[in-house]
């Protein structure tokens, strides 16, 4: 689809692109910090930024809740987290809003922005999200919940239990599967026996759709519809979003071990950020010069955020024994 098919205004499209690009550039920074030993870990959403931004834009971030997973950097930034917030997480700083330096990098959460933190243990956020959505339904808040996981992680029992309950209660929520073809080294064919995971929705009495997450407008419209359905009391939707994993699984992995050079090269030729830039140009939303100037501006922004984040204090070691139980 064309970007403009999304029905978003030119300004909104530019704004969307800035978020996509910022997420990409910030992630590149995180890899640099990792390589020079300033952070010990990175797990990245490169190849999913366009889909994530399109997805997140379909929600109302001041009232809807997001229960993300570790690749959702672009999405949590749309929801309100800043580059500095994320950098503080990677550097394990005391003011990291996700966990105050307690969890590994990329374990996003933010009380101020309705982002509920998750555990590394995959798919536990799915049942938790049903609780969030049930609270919204009962409290009559008209808010809705979004939760995400990877396609490999759909093999967990929690995936099923959550969807089943969402079907029973017609919960106001959207479940997304970000299918990047691999669970660490394990390809889709060894993870599940179908080509389209969104068909599982039928088995729960909820809506289901597969979208190409490299296609901004298609993705945005699908999530918009899902969000509308949730908000209007029509129940939940399961969306399988096809994306890429341009990088290794994480900084502890090397995907060249288990993927062919051709496979990797082909993926890079279809890099979603590049594709979006082509579309912006061809649809005359932005010119080459404007793209370049956005890039420069973001570079400066990320540099500054990096500097600021690095200067922030580490958590004091007496923090180890705080926030374990309710304090009287």
């Amino acid at each position: 689809m064309k970007l403009k098919d999304s029905q978003l205004t030119k300004d909104e499209l530019i704004q969307a692109y800035r978020m996509v690009k910022e997420a990409r550039m910030l992630d590149e920074r995180l890899w640099q910090l990792n390589r020079i030993g300033k952070s010990t870990f990175n797990i990245s959403g490169q190849g999913a930024e366009v889909g994530q931004v399109a997805m997140a834009l379909a929600f109302e971030h001041d009232k809807d809740y997001f229960l993300p997973y570790y690749r959702d950097m672009a999405a949590v930034m749309v929801w309100g987290m800043s580059a500095k917030d994320i950098l503080m997480g990677s550097l394990g700083k005391a003011d990291d809003p996700s966990s105050h330096g307690r969890q590994m990098p990329n374990h996003y959460g933010d009380r101020a922005h309705n982002i509920v933190p998750f555990s590394s243990t995959v798919t536990t956020q799915y049942p938790v999200a049903t609780g969030v959505a049930l609270a919204m339904q009962i409290d009559g808040s008209k808010a809705i919940a979004l939760t995400a996981t990877g396609e490999g992680s759909t093999a967990e029992g929690d995936f099923h239990e959550a969807l089943n309950f969402a079907g029973v209660q017609k919960l106001p929520m959207v479940f997304v599967i970000e299918n990047n073809g691999y669970a660490i080294s394990t390809p889709n064919a060894e993870e599940f026996g179908v080509k389209d995971l969104s068909v599982r929705a039928t088995g729960y009495g909820i809506f289901g759709k597969q979208v190409n997450g490299r296609d901004f407008a298609e993705t945005y419209l699908a999530f918009k519809e899902a969000a509308d359905n949730a908000r209007n009391g029509n129940g939940s939707t399961l969306i399988e979003m096809l994306v890429d994993r341009l990088t290794a699984h994480s900084s502890d992995d090397d995907q060249r071990v288990y993927r062919t050079p051709d496979d990797i090269a082909e993926m890079k030729e279809n890099d979603c950020v590049m594709l979006m830039e082509k579309q912006l140009l061809s649809e005359k939303v932005l010119s080459e010069a404007e793209l370049a100037s956005i890039k420069k501006e973001l570079e400066a922004k990320i540099n500054q955020a990096t500097e600021e984040a690095e200067e922030m204090p580490n958590p004091a070691s007496d923090q180890l024994m705080t926030h374990i139980y309710e304090e009287e």
Binding site: Q103, S119, P127, T130, V132, I138, N164, E326
Partner: protein
């Protein structure tokens, strides 16, 4: 004051807290509707509070736990019922990875103020999977509280505290006590602290620490032996974390301690009590720390003779106290 059974006291605690706080919700398998739980603990609640706040969940324990966590995150005090303590096992991951770590992992930004109730214990011919004491599985997870009432008074007061607590609380109810013990308890509001053991009977010769049906045996034994020995009886109540202070004080007093659990012996929560005593007050002891517990067999069998052979009984308790007193 009115006479209530342990089960009625639990039902009252929930009823009162639901009246008092609109955010309180309760659910689990067969918890809602007219059935009100397979033991009847939640009977009448759906009728009074409606099927939004009191409902049947589908048969998935991980979802039950996760649902509670999500509701908790949103400010509800969710009460999740697991139909039997044996069936909490599919929810271990949600409980350990999410519920018990929510506060700590966000440095207090998010909390999980939930109660997870479940009936435990044997002696009802329930066989392998309706008799287990699964509390030990969780009794090493900071961030979590595990409590169990062993008296009618505590059934009400402890559950009210659990519901009001901002911490995740695993609330074990002994299924044999539901209808077997009755007592006069206050009609109005009272609570019992979640983190304190309770000295039920003062004594000078032997300290017995127990919970559940074993505590009832201990009380009876203390009574039987009262002309011969003076027995201090402590209700452990908080199974995790252990109330060190009360335990150590009670042990120091007599120098002889008997720990009783109906759970299998190796690895039971009483080992945690023993380890604290052996580290903190070893030289106050006049006898080895005796643990009376079930046998190390994989679960409680169904056949009557086997079940009887498995269970610690009144005679075992009385005999162990006597032996220790005479040591």
């Amino acid at each position: 004051m009115s006479e209530k059974s342990y089960l009625e006291a639990l039902n009252l605690a929930i009823t009162e807290e639901m009246r008092h706080d609109e955010g309180v919700m309760i659910f689990g398998e067969d918890v809602g509707g007219v059935k009100g739980g397979v033991f009847g603990v939640t009977k009448g609640l759906a009728e009074e509070f409606g099927d939004k706040r009191v409902f049947n969940s589908p048969l998935g324990e991980s979802e039950i736990a996760g649902l509670a966590v999500g509701l908790g995150v949103m400010g509800h005090h969710a009460i999740a019922e697991f139909q039997f303590a044996d069936y909490i096992l599919p929810a271990v991951n949600q409980i350990m990875s999410e519920a018990t770590k929510m506060r700590y992992k966000s440095a207090g930004d998010w909390i999980s103020p939930i109660v997870m109730r479940t009936p435990y214990g044997g002696g009802v011919r329930g066989g392998f999977y309706h008799s287990q004491s699964t509390e030990k599985i969780f009794a090493g997870q900071p961030g979590l509280r595990i409590v169990t009432p062993s008296t009618v008074y505590d059934a009400k007061g402890l559950l009210k505290s659990a519901i009001r607590s901002e911490d995740p609380v695993l609330f074990y109810e002994h299924k044999k006590l539901y209808r077997s013990i009755k007592d006069d308890i206050p009609d109005d509001d009272y609570t019992v602290p979640l983190d304190k053991a309770n000295i039920l009977k003062q004594g000078d010769d032997v300290t017995v620490i127990a919970y559940g049906v074993m505590l009832q045996f201990a009380l009876k034994a203390a009574e039987e032996l009262k002309d011969e020995f003076s027995v201090e009886v402590v209700d452990l109540r908080s199974l995790y974390p252990i109330d060190k202070e009360t335990v150590l004080e009670a042990v120091r007093k007599t120098g002889k301690v008997l720990l009783i659990t109906e759970d299998t012996k190796e690895g039971s929560v009483m080992n945690n009590v023993s380890a604290i005593i052996a580290e903190e007050v070893l030289f106050d002891l006049d006898a080895p720390i005796k643990i009376l517990a079930g046998p190390d067999s994989p679960s409680m069998p169904y056949a009557k003779d086997l079940e009887d052979a498995f269970l610690v009984n009144q005679a075992d308790v009385t005999k162990s106290i006597r032996e220790l007193a005479e040591f």
